[in-house]
Symmetry: C2
Subunit: 131 residues, 2 copies
DNA sequence: CATTAACATCGAAGATTGTCAATTTGAGTC
DNA sequence: GACTCAAATTGACAATCTTCGATGTTAATG
């Protein structure tokens, strides 16, 4: 996920040289601008790891809807720094939030984030009706 | 996204040595097994790139719900092999399908895939009711 | 105030990814 | 069959990611 720039659409059509079109040259606008696409990709990137998905599901299904790092760490074979690393990625993507109480940090899901992500999916994958 | 193995949950509780619990030691089962988590991560990984998101939205919003590689390529600054590479990743994730007609290949969205992905999100992020 | 426990951060190793240039494949055309 | 064009594949390289070991930070405790 890096630099990504749409070619400036000159003269409103595609720039094929020949006169034989492969299809109706429908250069539609993408649903997302470059910046929005990058931001959406970041969210999906946070979800693009089995450990992080498992962490999320463990938090979602835990008793009070929250879990401390020590319990999460105890659930995996990998070390505590790795879990902390994944938690940071999830937090940066605004999928979870941490609450420090005493010596422990309790992580919980950000409410409503699932619906926001579904909205992102609709933006990208939904075929617009009656345009 | 690689090896990820849950620690075998021995004796039904967490393995903290001290008697002072950081929280109710609720070692719940994750919603996904290791294999399912890896598969789900692959899907989100396919979505975790701004170019690929833009490609998807271009296809979704194109006139007939399909777009040929040449038009997609014309929409980006990057080269044709890169677009082909991204299309392959989207195809491997079963997000799009290719249809070769004459010299051209037309890509379209796999119908219903959006709902399946939303189902994945629910599996991971939805807090179970009345357990 | 020294110690311990929980968690975060840092630095490095190894794997994976995105891009390009070059080449190959495959269909249509002369 | 030689040629052309669309698309896929290959190989290389830089950038990024995941993991680990070591260290730092902060809060409770003796």
């Amino acid at each position: 996920m890096e630099i990504q720039e749409l070619k400036e659409q000159k003269e409103g059509a595609n720039s094929r040289g020949n006169d034989e079109a492969c299809c109706v040259p429908t250069l539609v606008e993408p649903a997302l601008g470059a910046k929005q696409a990058r931001k959406a990709a970041d969210v999906f990137n946070a979800l693009a790891d089995p450990t992080r998905l498992t962490i999320l599901s463990l938090i979602a299904r835990s008793e009070r809807g929250e879990a401390c790092v020590c319990d999460l760490t105890a659930s995996f074979k990998m070390g505590q720094p790795s879990i902390s690393h994944h938690l940071k990625i999830l937090k940066d993507a605004d999928l979870i939030q941490g609450d420090k109480r005493g010596k422990w940090v309790y992580y919980s899901l950000v409410v409503g984030r699932d619906e926001e992500i579904k909205g992102l999916l609709d933006t990208v994958l939904k075929i617009p009706v009656g345009v």
